[in-house]
């Protein structure tokens, strides 16, 4: 919490015009930033310290595998990579369907380090990419907030972002996912936009396009940028803030940015052809029209201008109607009205759960609950409104952008819990502004009260500095390009002049404000309370980083009365697959485990976490929901050799396949209507005990999960569902157990080959008894319990 205090120090140095103090403030800011970077990096290392240096969860394993491929085969092979290990037999063209930003970044770091003779493994580089980029992200936040409200706010916002739990959850060491670099790219792009807006130089505009390109490379969330910036431009135009700076900030971004975005294979022509991008083009047209109108206004007399306006408006309306009609027809002709499922669910939160079970099935696509706001952004949630108010005092182009950013991101985070990640930087920026403004006010009051009325002028200066902060310096900067515009008799510049004219009156206001200075005691107490609030935030963030968000989810731990238990069943199972099955064997499992199976076991999977083919996933879902024989046929037709299920009933691991099973039924039933959800529910309740429906008790998922489960405790008590299972003793006819991990969390079954002979009809005579005695003998050898 040193940042705000130094900010006031920095502020004061500015106004004493003491170059030495100025330099001192700069050096101090630099070191504070350095420390913020170190903190952002180190707070994310809990996962490495508490567990080990491994890649986490699901998607990161895919990214890791792609990076390995890149490091091994080079960039050209990477672009042309057709992955035959996944989505068998369809395969997946990785180069054309993946956002390459993260992979290329980590690959470049690895290559650089190796060429410097620092032999780090690809895995190590991947594990630490996210912490490194969160340091970058906090520096980018500093830059962005500094552009909006000055150094003090910048440092505060950077410190807040460095440890905001929402961002930590996606960027702990090992969480090697697109968001890790994308959040940095997002903030940095916004910073460059604001910078261009404030300076109006093409240099920053070009940089902005390049940053946007990096964002497009990194994350599908780039559509947020390409919609937010046009919205802000539109807002500026509507509120009469159009300027040449705005034009320079926006037009090059659209042209260059779209061209660059189209270079990314996964985006390609989508950059001009999908409705997510239409807003930017529309605004692009509007800004040109507005610029043209201002230009015409400048060269025509007011009377002529009026005539021209009526002419243009009438013709323009007709053309507009025609264009809009064509657009609507085009969009309406596509089945989803030009919007893909996930974006539709952004606009209508109930859309996905109604129509697309595969989207609804993902936990991250659910709306968040209130506790998750408190968990993920903590005290920032309360500071944000204060920050928004601070942004209006006074409202500049930059601060209006921040307001717009926070407003839209709050909306989106309310739709999908994973978009909380987009909210986090906005919340940090506004909270940073709020905190730093508050500190300014309180420290200013204290200073005023302490120095008293001894030196009025000095206080006056301090007061103005605290209220308007560095926005004034921005105003100083921005005045320069406006001077050229001022010469023209436009309404806009007149307004500006009027504002300039009002400057003295604001100074007068500042005089009054001196009277509004708070009493010493309340200032001190408020300061203390603020520090306490910050301290609470820090404590919460450290707790969240250490306890809540550091679990790699492939290694699980649990504390019980007899100490710490480690469940390493996933890696055990994948290692078994890697060492005991043929290289070309196909493994079927629910899509959640697809990435891990390809990355850790190096075996071909049928479906994986890139859920691009709903039918294929539905096929697997149908197989899991079918009785054994039908399931065997489905799997056999896909050349599947092994089936992997995750079962938590023995140790009480709740996110196992039985708990996800209804989604398999729903997704499977969506494509294959003979699978009906009510068949699996008893009176609308999902249960696996003796009350369960026969369909449920006979489906493959039930059988594979609970096969021989009763042998563990004699009762078959499922510790996740807290009930005894319905069907305890049964045999598998078309599958055989191949491997079960130590805690039974992963169970692997092998498909039996088709029978060599087909038996005749069984006879009732004595032969039956002798045949039954012979068959268990044969299967008896296979019944070895791999658990013991």
């Amino acid at each position: 919490m040193a940042a705000p205090e130094t900010s006031t120090a920095a502020v004061q140095t500015l106004y004493t015009n003491n170059t030495l103090r100025n330099a001192f403030g700069g050096v101090l800011s630099f070191f504070i930033l350095l420390l913020i970077g170190v903190m952002a990096f180190s707070i994310r290392l809990f996962s490495v310290i508490k567990y080990e240096s491994v890649i986490h969860e699901f998607d990161p394993y895919f990214n890791y595998r792609v990076t390995q491929f890149l490091a091994k085969n080079g960039i050209y092979e990477f672009w042309n990579w057709f992955d035959d290990r996944t989505w068998y037999p369809l395969g997946r063209v990785i180069g054309g369907t993946v956002y390459p930003g993260l992979t290329l970044t980590a690959g470049t770091i690895w290559w650089l380090l190796n060429s410097l003779n620092i032999p780090l493994s690809v895995e190590t580089v991947c594990v630490f990419t996210a912490p490194i980029f969160s340091a970058f992200a906090s520096w980018a936040t500093y830059l962005l907030t500094k552009e909006v409200k000055g150094t003090g706010a910048g440092l505060t916002a950077a410190a807040l972002l460095a440890m905001v739990p929402s961002y930590i959850s996606r960027s702990v060491a090992g969480s090697y996912d697109n968001e890790a670099v994308a959040i940095f790219a997002l903030i940095f792009t916004f910073y460059l936009y604001i910078k261009t807006l404030n300076t109006g130089t093409l240099f920053y505009a070009t940089l902005n396009s390049i940053a946007y390109f990096y964002m497009v490379c990194s994350w599908g969330g780039y559509t947020f940028i390409i919609n937010l910036i046009p919205m802000h431009v539109l807002l500026c135009i509507v509120t009469g803030r159009f300027s040449s700076r705005l034009y320079i900030a926006y037009a090059p971004l659209v042209v260059l940015g779209t061209l660059l975005a189209a270079l990314v294979p996964v985006v390609g022509f989508n950059a001009v052809m999908t409705s997510e991008h239409f807003a930017s083009f529309l605004v692009f047209i509007i800004i040109h029209v507005v610029a043209f109108v201002y230009y015409i206004k400048g060269i025509l007399s007011p009377k002529m201008f009026k005539v021209a306006v009526t002419l243009v408006v009438s013709v323009g309306l007709a053309v507009c109607c025609a264009v809009i009609a064509v657009l609507i027809a085009l969009v309406a002709s596509s089945p989803t009205k030009g919007w893909s499922g996930r974006s539709l669910s952004l606009l209508d939160p109930t859309y996905a759960s109604k129509y697309i079970p595969i989207i609804a099935s993902v936990s991250e696509h659910q709306p968040p609950t209130w506790p998750s706001y408190f968990m993920d952004i903590n005290v920032l949630a309360f500071l944000v409104p204060a920050g928004i108010i601070a942004c209006f005092l006074p409202l500049s182009d930059a601060s209006s952008f921040v307001v717009l950013y926070i407003a839209t991101s709050v909306y989106f985070s309310g739709v999908m819990v994973r978009l909380m990640l987009v909210l986090a930087p906005a919340a940090c920026i506004t909270s940073g502004i709020a905190l730093s403004q508050a500190f300014d006010v309180f420290t200013g009051s204290i200073k005023f009260q302490l120095t008293g009325a001894s030196s009025n002028t000095e206080v006056d200066a301090a007061e103005t500095s605290s209220s308007t902060a560095e926005s004034q310096t921005d105003a100083v900067k921005t005045e320069k390009p406006e001077e050229t515009a001022k010469n023209r008799p436009s309404r806009k510049s007149k307004k500006k002049e009027r504002e300039h004219g009002e400057k003295p009156s604001t100074k007068a206001k500042a005089e009054k404000k001196r009277l509004l200075a708070l009493p010493l005691e309340s200032s001190v107490i408020s300061l203390l309370l603020l520090v306490l609030l910050g301290a609470f935030y820090v404590v919460h963030c450290v707790w969240a980083a250490a306890e809540a968000y550091s679990a790699p989810s492939i290694v699980l731990t649990s504390h019980s009365h007899d100490g710490l238990h480690v469940f390493d069943d996933f890696r055990e199972a994948y290692a078994w697959l890697r060492h005991n099955t043929d290289v070309d064997d196909k493994v079927a499992s629910w899509w959640d485990y697809g990435y891990q199976t390809t990355a850790m076991a190096n075996r071909t999977v049928i479906v994986d976490n890139n859920t691009w083919n709903n039918t294929h996933i539905a096929t697997v879902g149908t197989a899991m929901s079918s009785p054994e024989r039908a399931a065997w046929e489905i799997f056999h037709s896909l050349d599947v050799k092994y089936v992997l299920v995750v079962f938590g009933g023995l140790v009480g691991y709740p996110s196992d396949d039985i708990n996800k099973f209804l989604w398999m039924v729903r997704i499977g039933g969506g494509v294959f209507p003979h699978i009906k959800e009510p068949d699996y529910l008893r009176d609308g309740q999902y249960r696996i005990d003796s009350q369960a429906t026969p369909t449920m008790l006979n489906c493959l998922m039930y059988k594979l999960s609970y096969y021989r489960f009763v042998e563990t405790d004699g009762k078959g008590f499922d510790r996740v569902r807290q009930t005894e299972i319905g069907k305890k003793y049964f045999k598998l006819t078309h599958f055989e157990e191949a491997f079960t991990t130590h805690h039974w969390m992963v169970r692997i079954y092998k498909l039996k080959p088709p029978k060599n002979r087909i038996r005749g009809k069984t006879k009732k005579s004595k032969s039956k008894t002798s045949s039954t005695t012979s068959s268990p003998k044969r299967s008896g050898t296979k019944k070895k319990n791999p658990w013991q």
Partner: protein
């Protein structure tokens, strides 16, 4: 569409299930056959049949079925390549042999001949049931045919049947037509119609039925007409071959030599068809006929010889395989015009009949389909009487980036925004 490239993955799997057969392609002679008998008298009474086998180079080992020293395998190695059960009345095998041992023997690719008879023991019936053949459950029932019986001096009970309802397959019963009817006396069996592995080689005439000839027929017989099979063969999925018949006496010297005249027919044959029929059938059972092998599976671009790493879609692709049939002494080119290759990914994208050069080399050329994915070259050849061939070779296709934009655009449309907010992490819990 742009140009498509084809890459061949080094991992290539060839499934040749018949290689695990007992039938060693290299040393087909010197095959040891275990013959289990109820009584050594059978050895002499059926000597013609045994001699025909010995002449063809088989090494017959005669044992009594209840000999305590018989064993099919020792130290995990099978001692015999085939088993003949001429012991219809055995209740319990001696030594380590039991039903499971016999079934395992078959499941590991060895051949089996079972001859049952009236009052066949449960043991023999059970072996037959395991192979997919159900003998008439009435232990004293015999096949009776009052119109298709063999004329003899005494009127008899019409249990000696002369049948010539052979299966229409040259590969199973030989290309030479069997003129004389086959004499049969024993029990009938039925087959499960859905069982695709078992074939009726010799069936009873429509007027036949299965009942006890000594007692009066009180209830309708359970097995009637041509549903009754007299001789059946089974080709298991591992290509082990099994012969099952309900008559031991049809192998006997007496039946081999006896003349035959079918009732209602004036033609009297000097010699029954038994010898020719059963000898030809044994050739099939012991893989001297109808046994195919496929070798040298190759695919390459037209005009080239090596399997290339890349294919362009507009290039023609050539696939070739050599198929040979065992003639009893050597591998001869197998000539036919009905072998097809599939270019398969979930369903066949290309289905093409292979043309052959009469020397066993089959080939076809076709254009690569306009779809990317992991494809297989599949040859599934299943023909009556022949071992089934099932070859598959995995290849994968992909589209290179310089090939143009179409592809990338196409897939992006389907997967678009699947990744907008990056990929999913995992399914949520539904309860």
């Amino acid at each position: 569409m742009g140009k498509f490239w084809v890459i061949f993955v080094a991992s290539i799997s060839i499934l040749l299930p018949f290689l695990c057969n007992s039938f060693s392609p290299e040393t087909p002679t010197n095959r040891r056959v275990l013959v289990l008998l109820d009584d050594f008298a059978v050895k002499s009474s059926h000597s013609s049949y045994f001699n025909s086998l010995k002449l063809r180079g088989f090494d017959l080992d005669f044992k009594l079925a209840d000999d305590p020293k018989i064993a099919l395998q020792r130290y995990g190695q099978y001692l015999y390549d085939a088993l003949i059960l001429f012991c219809p009345s055995v209740e319990r095998f001696g030594g380590s042999v039991d039903v499971a041992a016999i079934i395992n023997f078959v499941d590991s690719g060895h051949d089996l001949i079972i001859a049952a008879d009236v009052n066949a023991s449960d043991l023999i019936r059970e072996v037959a049931t395991e192979c997919g053949v159900d003998f008439d459950e009435d232990p004293s029932a015999m096949v009776i045919d009052h119109t298709g019986y063999a004329v003899s001096e005494t009127e008899g009970d019409h249990t000696l049947i002369a049948s010539h309802d052979f299966i229409k397959s040259d590969v199973i019963i030989g290309s030479k037509k069997i003129e004389a009817p086959v004499l049969f006396q024993g029990i009938g069996h039925s087959l499960n119609p859905v069982n695709s592995l078992v074939l009726k080689v010799l069936s009873a005439s429509p007027s036949a039925y299965s009942a006890n000839p000594l007692s009066k027929l009180s209830t309708p017989p359970s097995l009637t007409g041509s549903a009754i099979s007299l001789v059946s063969v089974v080709q298991a999925r591992n290509n082990a071959r099994i012969l099952i018949t309900g008559s031991l006496s049809m192998f006997s010297n007496r039946f081999f030599r006896s003349g035959v005249q079918k009732s209602g027919s004036s033609t009297k044959y000097e010699k029954s068809g038994n010898e020719q029929f059963l000898t030809e059938l044994s050739k099939w059972i012991f893989h001297e006929r109808g046994h195919l092998k496929a070798v040298n599976v190759k695919h390459h671009k037209v005009g080239e010889t090596d399997e290339p790493a890349l294919y362009r879609v507009n290039d023609e692709l050539e696939y070739s395989v050599e198929i040979y049939e065992w003639s009893g002494t050597s591998w001869e080119p197998y000539v036919t015009d009905d072998v097809q290759v599939q270019f398969y990914m979930m369903s066949p994208y290309v289905l093409k009949t292979l043309s052959n050069d009469k020397k066993g080399l089959y080939s076809a050329s076709f254009k690569v389909p306009d779809v990317y994915g992991v494809f297989q070259f599949k040859v599934e050849y299943q023909k009556l009487g022949y071992t089934s061939l099932s070859l598959s070779k995995q290849v994968s296709y992909f589209v290179s980036h310089d090939s143009g934009y179409d592809f990338s655009f196409e897939t992006s449309l389907t997967s678009y925004l699947e990744e907008t907010c990056n990929r999913n992490r995992s399914s949520q819990k539904s309860v």
